[in-house]
Symmetry: D3
Subunit: 250 residues, 6 copies
């Protein structure tokens, strides 16, 4: 188990990068990353505990390991400072995402309401666990995005796993996350963006599909998918007329 004194903080990207990625959203980011060579950046498992959050931020990471009683004993309860799941929260800054490799364990509640309240209090953007949290009723009331496989009343080290290291590479939902990678999370799920690819990703997604709103409107009225998505040249003319009208209405 890592010594708390060996834990390093992460390097954070400029805030506008995370803001741009949050606006792009997980669906567009995942598709585009696949065209950039990352076959599947989507974490299998974690789902939004409460819908409606759409965030992006750098990853603080916590690695859990199978429990071994000679390594994680009573000492952790005598001295809370030995509990590593606390240490991944200490360096949290506004906009950070906490990513926990919980080994898909469904009988360990990595964080309870107090830990999550602290993270929300620090302005954390969210927490992603390929496992569970506990105290879910209270957790849902926080202004904090939470993506988990499920919930449980059990505490973090009660059954099969123990926190083992902080800000090391982890596998969460079968996706490799390096500390400081950017996590995009919304109602479609959670995507990890390698930090070195973030700017190119934003660039590629910036060719904003301005006609998308028009397409959606026409399709919702029963318009032909072949004509309106993508737009045919004729439909593009129609779009421009519509847009001019919209702009005129202003």
């Amino acid at each position: 188990m890592q010594s708390p004194s060996d834990i390093k903080d992460i390097t954070r990207p400029e805030r506008h990068i995370c803001d741009a990625l949050a606006a792009i959203g997980s669906a567009t980011a995942s598709s585009e990353l696949s065209f950039m060579g990352i076959r599947n950046p989507h974490m299998r498992g974690p789902k939004a505990l409460r819908e409606g959050f759409a965030v992006a931020g750098p990853a603080l990471t916590l690695q859990c390991m199978p429990k071994r009683e000679d390594i994680y004993g009573a000492g952790e309860y005598d001295n809370p400072e030995l509990q590593l799941h606390r240490h991944v929260l200490y360096p949290a800054q506004a906009g950070d995402m906490v990513v926990v490799d919980a080994r898909a364990d469904m009988e360990s509640g990595i964080f309870g309401e107090m830990m999550l309240t602290f993270l929300a209090g620090r302005g954390g953007a969210g927490v992603v666990v390929d496992g569970c949290i506990r105290d879910s009723a209270k957790a849902k009331e926080l202004d904090l995005g939470i993506w988990v496989n499920g919930v449980t009343p059990n505490y973090h080290a009660q059954t099969n796993i123990i926190p083992f290291a902080v800000n090391v590479p982890v596998a969460c939902g079968n996706v490799l996350v390096m500390p400081g990678d950017i996590i995009i999370a919304d109602d479609d799920g959670v995507v990890a963006v390698p930090v070195a690819m973030a700017e190119e990703l934003i660039e590629r997604c910036s060719h904003h599909v301005e006609w998308e709103e028009f397409s959606r409107f026409k399709l919702s009225e029963g318009g032909d998918l072949r004509r309106y998505y993508p737009l045919t040249p004729d439909a593009d003319d129609e779009y421009r007329a519509w847009k001019a009208e919209q702009d005129a209405k202003g």
Copy 2:
């Protein structure tokens, strides 16, 4: 992979048949079908994305297959008309159900919001996928029943599967569906009705349990299950008196 030009439309039952089945609901239909010899018409996996829809309609089907890179390549993105998941939507009419055999894959979002908006725009009753859709936040706002195993940000052919054929027999949620079979879907899940059995099924379910409302009322007041469900002869007398009173009240 099927050529788009080989796709056939389905034969649709008269609308009143679908209306009757929607009113019967999945629970009564599944039980009664089992007494008619269909052991388990319920699709395992698909759940209502948004609760409260209760629909029935003929099945347009889409078969997916494991991805093979020599078969489904870049061409599909140069020419959207080669994407077969579009083709299952083109013939959609009001009241139709789109059923997708997605092989229980959790990393493929078969449809995104534009496709689903088109289906809703055409009056489609719903979509059933034993896998995922994407753009779930927007999809939930549509007037369209959606039953899926989950959601994902990934696009339809990003990882493990590809659309392969339209309006062919498919297995969805471990139930065999022939194109044109009638799909009943509500909060309990999704049931496939072999179209040739639909009229008999409606007939068998038509012996409306008029006393059910009475039973529910009595049970909710603490009435004896043995007396009120099913009704004993005594309780039946009680029911008739109650009903007369109700009718008198008008």
Copy 3:
């Protein structure tokens, strides 16, 4: 299959014990039980069908077994009194919990709305199934806590399992439950409390963390986790001052 005449009622604890356990909640109970030697009292699988219920009560149990057609045949439908899933409900009293060992089967709806309405009508506190119920739309409207793995339109004995015995020891969600054990259920899930351990458990949980409200408040404001959870001596002084002020405001 058990004969209905062999079914025994359970012994119920005094009501205040259940009330105390409901107030303690599943999360605190599970942790504390683990310190008392019960490694994992949490049932894997059952989730709240409708959130917000927090109950505790003695367990009436129903054991299901794999279906064997020579044992569970047409007779059950000619004579409802042979259906054992009715018999677990007959003895239900106000505050009771019905616990069903459904073998994690996802194609059997153990109870439908009439059965559940009866249980609610009797004042039952809840039902826990490591499998499914049916008629979920109506079931959600009842004043009854319901914890299930899922929902299905199928009836109880339609596919893989049959009710087999009532008020015998069962395994629900991989937890052994003896008839009369106390079940705590809320949004975090379901925990079984061995009835002989209930009073000690309450005693151990009674050292009420009065400062918890203070900690939550400070953490939500960005306070230091190391200072406020648990409280350092300095923070404890701060807490006492805060509490005095609160009391003064009264």
Copy 4:
């Protein structure tokens, strides 16, 4: 947990019935039972540890349950007579089959070599566990059929389950087994025969397909499946001539 003093022995069928069923084999028995109304008498999971055994005998049963530390404690090791997995072996007679409901647990070795040596010494026909045994190297050397899901070094109550009752109805490999039912086991797996159906099953299987040897011979030479399996009238004539010739050769 059952008290050892409450354990009942089973009623055994006449030996010739078991002999007949062993000769019929699991494949023919399973098919024919399905035509008699038992949809699936085959236990999913247990495989022959060592191939070549083909046996049938009445079932002594052991039910395991999820471990609960207040119920199965240190006492079992102070007093071996409290260990119920011993008690299922005590009444074993020549030809008996021991069937263990191990809940598909892969981390519990229900029996070790000493227990299995005792069973072999008593003339037991075999043991079936939908879980594991331990000491597999030595177990394989015994003259005892062993069907298990796997092997493990762990002892019976080391992790997740405990022995709970003997000679009660159990579910093994998702098949319901009543104490005294007849178990057929061979290289294709394990089938449970409801004891009341055994004689009819034997009767139905007794129309021995005498021409099967002839068919196999012809097919192995490249004969037409349509002609030789089942035999066409022409092939039947051919068979009779072949048989006469075989008989003449003597």
Copy 5:
């Protein structure tokens, strides 16, 4: 369900192509196919029932579907010619591989000994099922490669699935197989080679690593992996000397 009269035979590659692929083996073929763009041609699940077979041949395919009692009824047993799993065998020629999409079902024995004896009698190279066969003891004695997920005593349509179509595209072990594709199978498992890629695959694998025997010999003696695999220039000199010596020994 497909009508037997609609079944088409496959086009077979020249025999030398299959022979070359059998010699290459599944491991080299799978790696090389991945470099050619087929990410994963390996079927998950099917294992050699008896080790030591290493074959390759064109695929005859059988598609199974979830059982639906209105489609697959008693008629199949009155008239064996309606059983489609027989029809995939009828066109079998020497060297053919029969590939069955059994939907990973573990309770359906697609073929029994008579069917397999016929296939062996016709010179079939092997059978691949992502599910089970039955009569495994006799099947193992045949001169026929058999790759299956497991064995069962149940017959092909006893429980969950039915044969549905012959020589259509199938998914076996999560790999898409077109009728006539070449199947390589050995102790490492089963790989599908798109028939249009077969010749290029053989070409790419033909750069025979002549020094591999030398490397294996040196490594088995404790030689340095860095020196002998792959060969360094120095080791290459050593190899040439060794080879000259070997050749001289003749």
Copy 6:
């Protein structure tokens, strides 16, 4: 991904410790470790590829991670020295065990025959993978114990995972292994012994059950389990007489 230059060798225990543990075997070691507080030291998944090996040795470890294409690219094939699965083998000494955390992936063959031949050539005791190897036919011929979940033709980084770090803590089969821990492996499976507990474990297992051979002999003759396992005082007298006789025969 770890840089090869950062890899550290392990500290090895004295050879007699490993020899003693190999003699004790996985079954006795696992039970005794559980009494020493390690609830479950058994790795779930890995099975002996070829039976009959019984070894123990210190663990060299390899951690795999989910594949990420920006991290593990073509460079590894241009320069084999970048392939970390080679680096876990380089430091191998006689008696060492190589333990691979392969994340239970069934489509990655971590080692092929050349790598395994090298390990055998260095006198390695065995390899444990909670995943697969390839070239299994040749691998089985080596004088090397191999415990794996299965085999595959795919190469190590073909599909889902990549080698990521060497001689770091890993989770193999849901057991935490620290580099240098002692691995016991035989036909019952694989057990990890925390190196600091090895001597106490040996001590506790040294009270050799001398009468075990006598018990086995008596049980195999039909002796009473209650009398001979464990030995009653009477049976102990019998044992002493038997032993004296055996010794006299000498």
